[in-house]
């Protein structure tokens, strides 16, 4: 009797052990459907507003190009487009890796429900990340098609890698934030602080709207640690090539990968600790 129950248990756990993370992602994506229109409208509307504002306004106002690529000076929209795309991915990460994580532990409490199923805490964390990757890829792909339509990409072929670079930027920023969110027991406005004192400065000082070298050296370090700057520089290099003296693309990639991996390891650890405590 016991052997058959035991055997049944072993057989029943095979799929959850293998696909548990995917089941979590499936659940999250189903949940996103509830605000699906916001995602779609945001993914299309946000780039349109920026591109119209910058393309018709700022770019027309600037009477000389401010940045250069491998072949010399480039249009301002070319310069700005890869950075805007990466910012879009980071914005999604800011949404999905803050309140959604806290809600899962504290308000919606759905992580505890998942936790009682065969799915293990590392799979819960991985599934959440997977679902956010899907959402970021959706957003960055739409973004890419729009900047392409606006003629803001130098080489459409290599530029087509930009959506993936955007996702990597989202993870490099989002996974450490996820670890932070998972460690919080109470909401005391920490996410507003992250928004104001981490996200916004990164956005403003990451060479998004002007080359990082325009800033005094004592402010440039913000760019060096900012996933946004690294992703923007890779995107520019894919679009129109890097000017002489720029960081090699491999270095930028390495910084993004290191940030993402360290963030992931911390987030996973905190998920396990929290869901298996008590």
């Amino acid at each position: 009797m016991t052997t058959t129950i035991t055997e049944a248990a072993v057989a029943a756990a095979v799929r959850p052990r293998r696909f548990g993370a995917w089941y979590v992602a499936e659940h999250q994506l189903r949940g996103m459907k509830a605000y699906g229109w916001t995602i779609v409208v945001g993914s299309v509307g946000n780039p349109l507003l920026y591109l119209l504002g910058i393309g018709l306004g700022l770019a027309a106002f600037l009477d000389q190009p401010i940045a250069s690529g491998a072949d010399g000076l480039v249009d301002y929209v070319w310069f700005v487009a890869p950075a805007l795309l990466a910012t879009a991915a980071v914005t999604v990460a800011m949404d999905e890796f803050t309140f959604v994580i806290m809600a899962g532990f504290k308000w919606r409490r759905i992580f505890w429900g998942m936790n009682a199923s065969p799915v293990a805490p590392p799979q819960i964390a991985a599934g959440l990340v997977l679902s956010v990757v899907v959402r970021m890829l959706f957003t960055t792909t739409i973004y890419y098609l729009l900047i392409l339509a606006f003629g803001a990409v130098g080489d459409p072929l290599t530029g087509a890698l930009m959506p993936l670079v955007g996702v990597l930027a989202g993870l490099a920023f989002g996974l450490p934030v996820m670890a932070f969110s998972a460690s919080l027991k109470e909401d005391k406005g920490q996410f507003a602080l992250v928004q104001r004192f981490v996200f916004t400065p990164l956005f403003l000082f990451s060479g998004t709207f002007f080359p990082l070298t325009t800033l005094p050296v004592w402010l440039q370090w913000i760019g060096w640690v900012s996933p946004l700057w690294h992703a923007s520089e890779i995107g520019r290099s894919l679009s129109y090539g890097s000017p002489p003296g720029a960081w090699p693309v491999g270095w930028h990639l390495a910084v993004l990968v290191v940030l993402a991996v360290v963030g992931w390891l911390m987030a996973r650890r905190i998920f396990v600790r929290r869901l298996r405590a008590g």
């Binding site: 089941y23 409490r109 009682a116």
Partner: protein, 308 residues
């Protein structure tokens, strides 16, 4: 005798200096409805989490479905149904989707989840709410949905942590009826409660837990026989006079309990005792003769009430 589906020996859980579960022993054979009765903080939920393979033990042995939760958590959880103390339904999904999404966690194909979800909505008497939002359900309905969700994987053991806490009496009875049906079908139930009437209704056998230790074990009726008398006389003299009255009644029965609001006299014939109280010239403001319950067992074992 079939092998137990849960076997705990010297099961212990410590959090730093605090011992939440202090070396308890129990076994649950398949098909039994087993209860852990005790006040809040007795260690019931911690025990449930260890059996549910989401919390590791500090010491002792534990086997669930013949497996060690430390090494075979996913295997054990595959065949468990868990109804937590605090609902954790997904309020952003509709009622039926909650069941389907949860079924997927067990690797059950979507079409099978859908069929089972419809059956379970029938069982939980929630057919009409299938497309409702979870937030629009009453407390009792949410609990029934949580129970339906816990059954989506056709579990061998259904674990319920305080299943009816916070529900109104009518909702509790609907829930008990559903659980009783599961019991009749042969599902093994493990439940914690601090309500003695719930334990009496649902448990074949139970352990009384206090401060992480098992105080007594048996069926509800055998525990009452062993630790209490057949009847109890409850008398109220007014809070400042209960103690004095108890002194004067001391010779009437073997055991008297003085609670802040009332005096309990334990006797096999309550009416006879009540007459002798009147003969002593004592006139309680209210008097009640009732049958002994698990509450009395608990009071006897720990000197405290279950619900404080």
């Amino acid at each position: 005798m079939t092998a137990p589906v849960i076997a705990a020996h010297g099961l212990t859980k410590r959090f730093g200096d605090f011992t939440a579960v202090d070396g308890i022993d129990f076994e649950v054979p398949p098909g039994e409805s087993f209860g852990l009765l005790g006040p809040n903080g007795a260690g019931k939920s911690t025990t449930m989490r260890m059996v549910g393979a989401v919390s590791s033990r500090t010491a002792g042995e534990l086997s669930v479905l013949g497996l060690d939760p430390n090494t075979h958590g996913p295997e054990i959880r595959s065949l468990l149904g868990v109804v937590p103390q605090e609902d954790n339904l997904d309020t952003e999904l509709r009622v039926r989707d909650n069941l389907i999404v949860y079924g997927r966690y067990f690797g059950i194909p979507r079409s099978v989840c859908a069929t089972r979800a419809d059956e379970l909505l029938g069982f939980a008497q929630l057919e009409e709410k299938r497309n409702a939002k979870v937030d629009d359900l009453s407390g009792g309905m949410k609990r029934r949905l949580t129970i339906a969700r816990a059954l989506i994987n056709e579990p061998r053991i259904l674990m319920l942590d305080e299943p009816t806490t916070g529900l109104d009496p009518q909702a509790r009875h609907v829930l008990w009826d559903r659980l009783f049906r599961l019991k009749e079908r042969g599902t093994t139930l493990v439940l914690t409660t601090h309500y003695m009437d719930e334990a009496e209704q649902l448990c074949d056998r139970l352990v009384v837990v206090d401060k992480g230790k098992i105080m007594a074990e048996g069926s509800p009726s055998s525990l009452i026989r062993q630790y209490s008398t057949r009847e109890v006389v409850e008398l109220r003299f007014g809070s400042d006079r209960n103690a004095d009255a108890a002194v004067r009644m001391a010779g009437l029965v073997e055991r008297i309990e003085v609670l802040p609001d009332r005096v309990l006299l334990y006797a096999d014939d309550g009416e006879a005792v009540l007459e002798r109280v009147t003969d002593l010239g004592l006139h309680p403001t209210t008097s009640l003769v009732r049958r002994s319950s698990l509450e009395d067992v608990f009071l006897r074992l720990t000197g405290r009430s279950l619900i404080e």
